[in-house]
């Protein structure tokens, strides 16, 4: 069991107290009663949770934030984002309204509360991370605000103790015509409420001229309240993160948390995914030593280009072999077939050399040889996009890595064209993605382009996680393959059941 006293990190005036003393000074076990679905995350959690919960909740929230971020990268409209996020939210971070009378209410809200604070810790270390976190949390809050029940939302706002100045009746009368113009009504109705705030608090309303400005004061119509609440949410979060950052060094006391937090922030820097090998294919369609070139049409660019290089050069260097072997293992190629595949591909090599220098490595990757732990763990697992994207760049003659990152833009576009991507708009956006180092977004765009027909069509919609952003090459393969073969009953049932799909030696 583990107790993380967030108070210690958050409360400004206590920051100069001895943290040890402080721990005793406050009753540690407090269970929150979550009255509202929305949360401004003012009070840090104080109850104990297990290390597993700590990690799991944080990873789930991270998943949600990453998907939100990918929505912004793709310029999805608010409505598109909302519908894209709905299934992801209900899967990873469900939050029901009071009126739902769900028995899970308190538990959901607790997870929401705790995971927010855990990630706040993980992302306080650098300004860049703080900014991203704050932006995404604000987006998440906005998303939930919009779908919240109107009455519950009002109760929540009332609970916030926000000090906005109301515009008095006399002033409203004086400014009547100008206020009406701001709301694009010809006449103001009497019950329209207005608030006065400094204009800096509502920049987006200013930008689109949806407020009246008078000498630095913004007159905000009550129905734009969301902007005010959002501004307040972001402002408070930014201030709290700033304090957390300053107190962060003290967190080292608990060395069980540090690696988890480090890992969390690392996966935020590039997309993380824990890929289970459920991506393997059902019996008759299983990959074997002879059909890899045919299956390559379903490979993401990073693997497809390795196959191309291999076919051309009859050789791949060490890291490329490792990246590719792990991928092939991940799609369900058996050890025996894998050895045969490589033996045939290295067609210019003597059997003796292959046996001596290459075979062992393949077996090692599969966990067939090596130390106990390697055998027990069935070798290495396939590389995620994160892993591939954070590896050092390949040097001359090496072919591994993510082409969106390692190729020159011209070479990349050329190889995308050879993958059948000819749409100039798409290529242009990919060029932009790459310019902004959003490599996995570019890759997802290629996937969407190549499977546009299937993605828009009816069949295959029930493929699990179909519309979530791909952050693992094997996931890319799996989705591509399933979309193509969804008509095949065996494939369909395998995917639904989840388990049986997995192919083990």
């Amino acid at each position: 069991m583990i107790r993380q006293d967030f108070n210690r990190i958050d409360a400004k005036r206590r920051s100069n107290l001895d943290p040890k003393k402080k721990q005793f000074a406050q009753p540690a076990f407090q269970h929150h009663d979550y009255q509202h679905r929305l949360n401004f995350y003012v009070l840090p959690p104080t109850a104990e949770i297990t290390l597993e919960e700590f990690e799991e909740w944080a990873i789930n929230r991270l998943k949600v934030l990453s998907e939100l971020e990918s929505c912004t990268f793709r310029n999805r409209t608010p409505d598109e984002t909302a519908s894209y996020m709905a299934p992801i939210l209900s899967k990873y971070l469900a939050l029901h309204s009071n009126s739902s009378r769900s028995s899970m209410l308190q538990e959901e809200r607790k997870q929401d509360h705790y995971s927010h604070f855990i990630l706040r810790l993980a992302f306080s270390s650098t300004e860049d991370l703080r900014r991203r976190f704050s932006r995404l949390e604000s987006m998440l809050f906005r998303l939930r605000w919009k779908e919240d029940d109107a009455r519950e939302r009002r109760e929540f706002v009332d609970s916030l103790d926000l000090r906005w100045e109301k515009v008095g009746d006399e002033e409203k009368r004086e400014l009547a015509s100008e206020l009406a113009a701001v709301t694009y009504k010809t006449r103001q109705s009497d019950d329209d409420g207005w608030f006065k705030v400094e204009w800096e608090q509502v920049p987006e309303l200013v930008e689109s001229r949806r407020v009246l400005l008078k000498r630095g004061v913004a007159y905000v119509p009550a129905r734009e309240q969301m902007s005010l609440v959002m501004a307040e949410f972001t402002r408070r979060l930014d201030a709290a993160m700033e304090l957390t950052a300053r107190a962060l060094p003290r967190l080292d006391e608990d060395d069980r948390l540090t690696p988890i937090l480090k890992h969390l922030s690392a996966s935020f820097i590039s997309p993380a995914s824990t890929y289970d090998s459920n991506s393997a294919l059902p019996g008759t369609l299983q990959p074997h030593a002879n059909n890899i070139p045919q299956l390559a049409q379903h490979f993401p660019a990073c693997m497809g280009q390795l196959q191309t290089r291999l076919a051309r050069d009859h050789h791949l260097k060490h890291f490329a072999r490792l990246q590719y072997t792990l991928f092939l293992k991940g799609i369900g190629l058996s050890l025996q077939d894998c050895i045969v595949f490589w033996r045939r591909s290295f067609s210019l090599m003597t059997d003796e050399k292959f046996e001596k220098e290459y075979k062992y490595n393949i077996r090692h990757v599969y966990g067939d040889v090596g130390g106990d732990s390697n055998r027990r763990g069935k070798g290495y697992s396939a590389y995620s996009c994160q892993k591939i994207l954070t590896e050092p760049l390949p040097s001359a003659g090496q072919a591994h890595g993510c082409p969106y990152r390692t190729f020159s833009i011209d070479n990349l576009l050329e190889s995308l064209r050879s993958m059948g991507v000819h749409d100039r708009e798409v290529l242009k956006t990919i060029r932009e993605d790459v310019g902004r180092q959003r490599y996995h977004i570019a890759c997802n765009r290629v996937f969407e382009y190549q499977h546009k027909a299937e993605l828009d069509g009816k069949p295959g919609q029930e493929i699990p996680g179909l519309k979530e952003t791909i952050v693992h090459p094997n996931d890319y393969f799996k989705k591509s393959f399933l979309l193509k073969h969804w008509g095949d009953k065996e494939v369909r049932e395998g995917a639904d059941a989840g388990g049986p799909l997995k192919m083990e030696e």
Partner: protein, 500 residues
Amino acid sequence: MPHSVSPDTGSSGDHDLPDANPQSSHSTPTIRAGESPEEAEKSSTALEDMFDDDDDDLDDLSSSMAASQEPQSVQAISGAQSARFSDPEIMRAFYQRLFPFRYLFQWLNHSPSPSTDFGHREFAFTLPNDAYLRYQSFPSSDLLRKQCIQMLPSRFEVGPVYSTNPRDRKTLRKSSAFRPLNKELVFDIDMTDYDEIRTCCTGANICHRCWAFITMAIKVIDTALREDFGFKHILWVYSGRRGAHAWVCDKRARELDDSKRRAVAGYLELLKGGDSSGKKVNLKRPLHPHIERSLRILRNHFSDILETQDPWLEDDRAAHLLSLLPDRDLVAALRKRWDSAPGRRSGSKWADIDALAEARVSEHLDSKALLEAKIDIVLEYTYPRLDAEVSKKLNHLLKSPFCVHPGTGRVCVPIDVQKVEEFDPLEVPTVTQLLDDIDQWDHDKMDGVDGEGTGEKKIQDWEKTRLKPYVEQFRNFVSELLKDERAIKRERDDADPMEF
């Protein structure tokens, strides 16, 4: 964005500015002298980031660069004037005797004694060989002056105040420790953005007729910044050739982050779409009070614009006007009338719209829609065209006031917004005139008073020239700003004595 517009050779008109260099090159300047490759790369992105938008300055760059590459003989014919302005002795005398470093220091420092507001402020120098030196900083006005005299920059730019001294940025362990903290909110109005509606001049040239666009823009933007945003300390500066810059210096403005700067720019920006897009004004009704007020300011100028610019004289421009009107029958009737009267002036064409509408050439004329379309047209032809990108970024650099424009030799003097109508860009003194003024004054003094006045305060060289009213105006501006800064500081000290 309309970049690399080179000065037009074929322009005519009495008031046109001397052409800086007719042979000027279109190529983007590559200016990397004396920098490591890494630095050079940085400065090239920085160029794109930071000052790609200032068309007036881009011209300077390309023209001055071309000047330095052209054979002497060509310069002697075409660029005699401009060669004189960038003469090292002239620039040295200018920085030594005329540039008001002291007030510039107070302006940026916000108090009389040196602080990080000045010391951590980025300056960027454009050197005579066109090298571009970023991240310069100076503890005092004397040291800035010294480097100017030593390097003789053809101009320098002012950037943000950073969290640490810009010169130390590479010694920092974490790059996040070096970040921009604050800078004046700036605006750039440039005549290039008016090229599709002005007919009197093209490219880098201006005359009194088209300067009216800048005057109108200053009025509208200045009013909005004061009345709507509550800013008080707004410095308008002539950009040296064909535009104007605004520096909003209120503390509240300096502290805006990018999202808030974007908000101000978005609030003020009205015309959307590039040169070839159709309707540029798309406004909901009723009009926002800011637009309504701007319209009141601009209406008075609209008929002048029709008169002096005659923007719909040519057929294709008149066709654009027709494309902005809502009623098909009305448009057809107008086209017919104008086709039969070539050379009809814009004022008459504008009057034709109402005349034909009242004559009921269209059965189903929606007079409300017509009125709204006409208001949109007034706005399209008068509303300020901002180079908004300049305003949106905290770390955008902008040419310092009182620099010399290398193409025209004119000093970037402040514009008194109270008398903006009287400001005449063609009367702004050039650096050579100013040096002549000093000589003249010294000469007169020698003749007249003859060694007396020992008890008098020493007269500054700028006081001997026609730069005097501009420096005084700047000095007054700075002293008003400092007064407010002191008040803010007192307030803060009173409120939280423990903080320091």
